[in-house]
């Protein structure tokens, strides 16, 4: 076996081993550099994996040589290969940005530990995505969650509310994960296996067992908490608002995405062929909640004065779009969700990073403190505007691609009311983004404030994402191709 064959597991184990090493590195620059190397390594791995998957089909890896049903299997196909790429890619882009951001926002003696938590979080997210074992998912879910609580609490130097935010996130996150593990237990009870492919094969014949249905319900609710589906989103706004800027950018772009991916996996790969419970669960529970989230999130965003909080509520709305895509139960709907996973990571990452740049200079992200800021930080605000337009869904940006597929999915089913609701809620994004643009561009700068452009090490990563926003909006052939393969793979495995 060549080293390349071990990539599916190296992708996860590499960062896992790197984390304790990082905690030993006392020099903060060294720790940062080490983290960056690990992240880029994972990124290169994921590119290679996705490329291989696209060419030759899914890769399966048995840990320790124990074959699938008994041992733990890691399996990379188009859908999770894509998510691996998103997570490790965003992580690699955020890290160069994080250096200066952490220097400002986090006490110096905590840096190497913070980077350790960052690597662990990355490990957890990659692990959730790569594994094909239901219980292994739980373990990595907790690895990522526990490190996320630490990362959020690191914002305490700027605002002590980060501590309460982290605490509340811990309570709700643990409840969510425990619900998930109850569901997995019930699944195991009914089928006697934890391997996803094996589960899928056994769920079908069992059919309408009540144990399975209850297990499925527990899993969906647990995941809904993790991915912040309305009305289980209460932990998210505070956590995103008070975490350090770089952490927010990383989490907003990746953490909920991994949870959405899990929901896809459980809904389609495992339960797709099983009980007739999927359609009512998704259609009667998830769809209304997704719609409610789209509106509640956007409306709440309009009324925020703290812009990080505004974007956090916007994330709640955007998660609504992803879940709505799932609830169509069609290939186009799944494509819309998968595309939006990627696209939303790009736009929210860029938006939060632009706000991070603003915070770095202005020390505030309250809307009135941004008065006339575009004159002093033109590049930062240009990045904000472009990624904001992407969030609105203006053509030639990635947001437009997502919207196109989401509406196509609704049109296929001739769900006219849904189309109207999708369009109406997306117009709400115009309002809250434009509020910022007006203040930043059309108001006079606050007298006496001398602010300059953010440092290049923060600006370049931000613009890297902005350019990705445009590139994948102008030429979406790659992303749509991957999304189609992913969607067909998810549904295909079920049949």
């Amino acid at each position: 076996m060549m080293a390349v064959d071990h990539l599916p597991v190296l992708q996860v184990v590499g960062p896992l081993i790197a984390a304790p090493i990082c905690s030993l590195l006392r020099a903060r620059n060294l720790a940062w550099f080490f983290t960056l190397l690990v992240s880029i390594g994972a990124f290169l791995c994921s590119i290679y994996l996705l490329n291989t998957v696209l060419e030759t089909g899914p890769i399966s890896y048995a840990i320790g040589g124990w074959a699938a049903p008994l041992g733990i299997e890691y399996r990379v196909d188009a859908s999770n290969g894509f998510v691996l790429l998103i997570i490790s890619g965003i992580s690699s882009v955020v890290l160069p940005f994080a250096k200066r951001s952490f220097e400002l926002e986090v006490p110096e003696n905590q840096h190497s530990l913070l980077y350790t938590a960052y690597i662990l979080c990355l490990t957890g997210l990659l692990g959730i995505t790569a594994t094909a074992d239901a219980f292994n998912v739980f373990v990595f879910l907790e690895v990522s969650s526990l490190s996320t609580y630490v990362l959020v609490a690191a914002g305490a130097k700027q605002d002590r509310r980060a501590l309460t935010a982290a605490y509340n996130y811990l309570i709700l996150g643990t409840i969510g994960a425990t619900f998930f593990v109850i569901g997995v237990g019930l699944l195991y009870m009914a089928t006697g296996t934890l391997n996803m492919a094996d589960l899928a094969a056994r769920v079908g014949p069992i059919g309408g067992s009540r144990t399975l249905d209850v297990g499925f319900a527990f899993i969906v609710i647990g995941l809904a908490l993790k991915l912040a589906l309305f009305p289980l989103h209460n932990w998210l706004p505070n956590a995103y608002t008070y975490a350090p800027s770089a952490v927010t950018a990383f989490l907003a772009a990746t953490a909920t995405k991994a949870a959405v991916y899990l929901l896809l996996r459980f809904c389609f790969t495992i339960f797709g062929s099983g009980s007739g419970f999927l359609a009512p669960m998704v259609g009667l529970v998830c769809m209304p909640l997704a719609l409610a989230g789209m509106f509640a999130g956007s409306l709440a965003a309009i009324y925020q004065y703290n812009l990080k909080r505004m974007l956090a509520y916007s994330s709640v709305a955007q998660i609504g779009y992803m879940v709505l895509g799932i609830s169509f139960l069609s290939i186009t709907g799944l494509m819309a969700t998968t595309l939006h996973l990627f696209n939303h990571a790009l736009m929210k990452g860029a938006l939060f990073m632009a706000l991070g740049c603003v915070f770095f200079r202005v020390r505030s992200v309250n809307i009135n403190d941004l008065s006339g800021i575009a004159r002093q930080m033109p590049w930062t605000m240009a990045a904000f505007v472009i990624s904001g337009l992407s969030l609105i869904g203006v053509p030639l940006t990635v947001g437009f691609i997502s919207k196109w597929y989401l509406i196509s999915a609704a049109l296929e089913q001739e769900a006219w009311v849904l189309i109207a609701l999708i369009l109406a809620s997306s117009l709400l994004a115009v309002i809250y983004i434009w509020r910022v643009i007006e203040v930043a561009y059309l108001k006079d700068p606050i007298p006496g404030r001398t602010v300059t452009e953010a440092p290049l090490s923060m600006l370049l990563p931000t613009w890297a994402l902005v350019i990705a926003n445009i590139y994948f909006g102008v030429d979406a052939s790659l992303t749509t191709r991957v999304a189609r393969m992913a969607a067909e793979g998810l549904v295909g495995m079920a049949q």
């Binding site: 869904g393 053509p395 196109w404 049109l411 115009v430 102008v474 030429d475």
Partner: protein, 496 residues
């Protein structure tokens, strides 16, 4: 230069100009030189395409594929050619005017102004030459966004409020309705290419056609069909060159141009005529024509009155599209050209009056005609052309539109055209009359609001660059009357 290269050049030349304007922002003379050179070069390139298109060629190219099957593609056809000629030609004149106006008023942030202007022109070219509805939609949105900073240019609370309405309605209708219509068409027909005779025949149940048409017609907010017309008066807070070129020519004409494109190349005239799917639109457009004319009469602010007049005139074109026969479509397309010349003249005159006297209200303009004879002379010609009196260009387009209405046998629609012409006289001519025949209040009592009271007697015109352009376009109204044949010859292939 091959035609494909020329086509690309029309898109990228203004963009290059924009970058140059940005780079030369510190030196106003250089910056405005760049604007003028870009404008002239663009017009030259557009004209170089004209002959071939007249001869029946329709070059096209595909830039790239955005999503599977959805391409950023361009194709030249007569309607787009006409729109491109008008927009780029009038841009030259309007650039001269901008220079006079912006300097005369000492406006700030002129570099941003010129940059956004070139970007807007570039997207107008994109709209004109779009090869499918997808491409057109993209440039439609870019045009909205690039004109937002122009509307909000003054950065006052009023300007911001106006710009908010502008953006809200245009983005709201385009994303809320038009996008849905485009995707619906894509799902139903499997293509979005502009095809002669339409792409929707037999692809969609006839019962649903009126709804799809409604999504398009209200979704194209730039056509200012009531009740989505409020953005146009709101946009009048912009500096006058913006109102003149964009809100009398490029933006609003992009709207009605899209309406015609949709009717001719997406639905197909025959399909609409057979199914009667556009019947409801006749009434909505007629209502818009008449109601906007009536509202225009109540407005004392000159630019507001002109804005409502524009809404009414756009209604003519939509009405022409709704009638869906050869004459009406030809008339509508011709009206894009004739109204452009007439209305840009009126707006530039309004701006010249503002630069010279800082007057915006019609009731303050008594006797101004004697002080500003060239401006008011041009205004008079523009007004006569809009009304549709020979020997000015507006005559022909109204003629064809009325012919189209008569052909459908709907006398009511003919009446709408006639009554609205009378209303045009009622709201445009008093301005001229007031200017020339009423005594100036400056002679009687000192007018309180006027910043620069015109000196008694002698001629006090606005700066040269503000007066020359409206005179040129007024002359254009006259010339077009005699050369309308050429335009009809260009347009005829779209209906045959």
């Amino acid at each position: 230069m091959s035609m494909e290269t020329a086509l690309l050049a029309t898109l990228f030349l203004p963009l290059a100009g924009m970058v140059l304007i940005w780079l030369t922002g510190n030196s106003p003379n250089l910056r405005e030189g760049v604007t003028l050179v870009t404008a002239v070069a663009l017009f030259a390139i557009v004209l170089s395409l004209l002959d071939a298109v007249m001869a029946g060629a329709s070059p096209g190219l595909t830039l790239l594929e955005v999503m599977p099957g959805l391409e950023l593609a361009f194709k030249i056809e007569p309607l787009g050619m006409l729109f491109a000629c008008i927009a780029s030609g009038l841009w030259i004149i309007n650039s001269l005017y901008s220079i006079g106006y912006m300097r005369g008023n000492g406006e700030k942030k002129q570099t941003r102004f010129y940059m956004c202007f070139t970007l807007a022109i570039s997207s107008a070219m994109g709209i004109a030459f779009a090869g499918n509805m997808f491409t057109l939609f993209i440039f439609y949105e870019v045009l909205t966004l690039s004109t937002y900073p122009l509307v909000a240019h003054k950065e006052t609370e009023e300007a911001k409020r106006g710009a908010r309405i502008y953006l809200g309605i245009l983005i709201g209708t385009s994303i809320g309705l038009q996008l849905a219509a485009v995707i619906w068409t894509w799902i139903a027909a499997g293509t979005l290419d502009f095809t002669k005779g339409g792409i929707l025949a037999d692809q969609i149940e006839p019962v649903l056609l009126p709804f799809l048409l409604a999504l398009y017609m209200f979704g194209i907010g730039k056509a200012a069909l009531m009740p989505f017309h409020r953005w146009l008066p709101a946009a009048m807070v912009a500096p006058t060159p913006v109102s003149a070129l964009l809100h009398a020519v490029a933006v609003v004409k992009a709207g009605v141009f899209t309406v015609l494109k949709v009717v001719v190349y997406i639905f197909g005239i025959d399909l609409l005529a057979q199914t009667g799917a556009a019947h409801w639109l006749i009434w909505v457009a007629s209502f818009t024509v008449l109601a906007a004319s009536l509202v225009a009469m109540t407005k004392d602010n000159l630019k507001a009155r002109l804005a409502y007049s524009t809404i009414s005139q756009l209604g003519y074109i939509v009405l022409g599209a709704a009638l869906a026969n050869h004459y009406a479509i030809l008339g509508g397309a011709l009206h894009i050209a004739t109204h452009a010349f007439g209305k840009i003249t009126l707006f530039m005159c309004a701006g010249a009056i503002y630069v010279a006297t800082h007057k915006t209200e019609i009731s303050d303009m008594q006797g101004l005609g004697r002080v500003m004879p060239f401006t008011f002379g041009a205004f008079c010609i523009g007004a006569l052309s809009i009304i549709g009196l020979p020997p000015f260009a507006g005559t022909w387009s109204k003629w064809y539109l009325a012919l189209g209405a008569a052909e459908t046998g709907m006398i009511v629609v003919v009446a709408v055209y006639m009554v609205s012409s009378l209303l045009n006289i009622a709201y445009l001519m008093p301005i001229v009359a007031r200017g020339f025949f009423r005594p100036s209040p400056a002679l009687a009592t000192a007018s309180a609001g006027a910043a620069v009271a015109p000196a008694k007697g002698g001629i006090q015109e606005a700066p040269f660059f503000c007066v020359l352009p409206p005179c040129l376009t007024a002359a254009g109204c006259l010339v077009l009357f005699f050369y309308a044949d050429a335009i009809i010859a260009l347009l005829r292939p779209i209906v045959e």
